[in-house]
């Protein structure tokens, strides 16, 4: 035990004396959570649109006012001729043009029908879709207000309620994902270079010619990083609560314990990479390139797993991040307790044990 403590102490010296790595270790998560939280979002705000109003009557004015009043759109310019629409788009600022037909009010009253054409710039299909949905929603709302007194027979009214994230804030979706990615990458990267560093510096030679056992080296390397990664996790949660108003519905304690479990599994994966690669560079490449893409693409963070082809769905099961995202979303957004996520927890636990056991087995007791 004394040997183990001595080894852990040595690891802490390494970590705290390498200022640059320490800065990356703590700086990167903060930068990433802010970037993801603010920059990457599915919501639209203050989108520039243009109006082509052929009728210029009371109704169109009212609708235009409603659109202008919403925080989603700002009316950039008025277009007078249909021929100008193309050039408006080409300039690039305006993402949509609303084209009101001639005699809009008159048609509405006479024929109970009037048309607005929504032309969107679909170079970015997601935004185009969202804009069109938002405009539609505003128009629906307006229609409802106008038709308040009129009773229409046979009408199916859909009433949508978005639970757990009623405002559809994308940050709610990103925070758990980003937290997962950061903990995975930072943890795995840090430990993945720790054994290869000893190999490269030649200190592995004297560590091997000592009574230290493989498990003491492996666990001793993982141990200090648990503390550092927990600090990281706390920073991320605090940032998401205070900057993004992320609600934590479930138990904070459960969240903390699950996070520690996930951190250990990521560290164990890093150690495994470290035991099988010869140089720091290889280890870094494997942990960055080899982990980053699967974690981002196959964990369900951005793309829903259920809409992937079956082979990818199967592969996604071996990615620890997938299980942690399920767990963390459950705790943060749904407020569920352990009884709903024990299966995922068990999977993560099993993976951790597997990674550590494999690392100890793969640890070379000799130089060859």
């Amino acid at each position: 035990m004394k040997r183990f403590i001595g080894f852990v102490k040595k690891e802490f010296y390494h970590i705290f004396r390498d200022r640059r790595s320490l800065f990356i270790l703590f700086g990167m998560p903060i930068a990433q959570i802010l970037l993801f939280g603010f920059a990457i979002t599915n919501e639209i705000n203050n989108v520039d649109i243009a109006i082509l109003d052929h009728s210029k009557d009371a109704t169109t004015k009212e609708i235009i006012n409603k659109i202008a009043a919403s925080k989603y759109f700002s009316i950039k310019q008025m277009v007078t001729r249909e021929a100008d629409i193309a050039s408006v788009f080409q300039k690039g600022h305006v993402k949509a043009v609303l084209n009101f037909e001639k005699d809009f009010s008159k048609n509405l009253i006479k024929e109970h029908k009037a048309t607005i054409q929504i032309i969107t710039d679909a170079t970015d299909p997601n935004t185009a879709n969202t804009i069109s949905n938002y405009v539609n929603a505003i128009l629906q709302q307006y229609q409802k207000e106008v038709n308040k007194e009129i009773i229409i027979a046979y009408q199916i009214v859909t009433e949508t309620r978005m639970v757990y994230n009623p405002e559809l804030k994308s940050v709610y979706m990103f925070v758990p994902g980003v937290m997962t990615i950061i903990l995975m990458l930072v943890s795995a990267m840090m430990t993945s270079i720790s054994i290869t560093r000893e190999k490269e510096l030649g200190t592995m030679e004297i560590l091997l010619v000592s009574p230290l056992k493989p498990f003491q080296v492996i666990i001793g390397k993982v141990f200090p990083y648990i503390f550092l990664s927990v600090i990281n996790a706390v920073v991320i949660v605090v940032l998401s609560i205070f900057i993004f108003n992320m609600p934590i519905q479930g138990s904070l304690l459960l969240l903390a314990l699950e996070s520690v479990l996930f951190i250990i599994s990521a560290l164990a994966l890093g150690i495994l990479i470290s035991t099988i690669s010869a140089t720091q560079q290889t280890a870094m490449m494997i942990s960055l390139m080899g982990l980053m893409l699967p974690v981002i693409l196959l964990s369900g963070f951005i793309f829903p797993i259920s809409s992937m082809p079956i082979p990818l769905q199967v592969i996604s099961n071996i990615i620890p991040a997938k299980w942690f995202i399920i767990i963390i979303k459950g705790i943060m957004l749904k407020g569920v307790g352990l009884q709903y996520i024990w299966k995922e927890t068990l999977v993560l636990f099993g993976m951790t044990v597997f990674f550590i056991a494999l690392s100890i087995k793969k640890y070379k007791i000799r130089l060859e």
Partner: protein
Amino acid sequence: MSISVQHISKSYKNVKALQNISFEVKEGELFGLIGPDGAGKTTLFRILTTLLIANEGTATVAGFNVVLDYKNIRNSVGYMPGKFSLYQDLTVEENLNFFATIFGTTIAENYDLIKEIYVQIEPFKDRRAGKLSGGMKQKLALCCALIHKPKVLFLDEPTTGVDPVSRKEFWEMLKRLQQKDITILVSTPYMDEAELCDRIALIQNGEILEIDTPAEIVKHYPKKMYNVRGDNMYKLIESLKAYEHQYSVYPFGEFVHYTDHRTDFDTESLKDYLKTKGLTDITIATTQPTIEDTFMELAK
């Protein structure tokens, strides 16, 4: 026997690093492996310190088989690799403490053993190991290899890249350690250090050329050795090499070590020859062959 090596061979992909090596080191002996870079010294050290497995042959260290009882060996030997292998970002004291701890001991427990060496680096005990000079690094590495009172000490080229004064001090330390019943196997490319060992093995291209005490080894030199001196060193070497009866010509400090093919060689004829080449101040005198001469002869 403290170290016993029997018919060890080791080859990497295309290179035969060691070929049928056998030798024994007695308890408390200071045994030197002398040979140029690439002779296979480091490979042999790594086999004996259980870091590599030989393709053929067996070896024991402190009575333990290097393959089967590797754990026991790792407990009871000290190893100082050729490349400086301490933690550069740890201070002198932290390094020493770390190695004491992982061997289950403390600095205080074996302080006697390292005292003489450690007092020299103690003033810098808070300095990081990476910031030490070459000689200091070697002393620290020796301390770290000694801190658990090993039975056998393996030193792979401990004085390479170290200044002459530190080298001399280092060897004096080894002599003192020997008094404390520690068997030492040391390798070096420097022939002058060979004379400080009890016995040496000359090794080249993975083969042992000769094993004996330094005094005996030079006796094996087959020729009579002459110190030749002249006013122009370069011209002297060129002329001697061109001489039809020369057997070997090696520069040695201010002299040239010369041997002749003929058994009835007389120095006057050589002197005359050198004079015709335009050299002056020529002196020729017999001298003792050195280990370097012997090595060059055996390596021919």
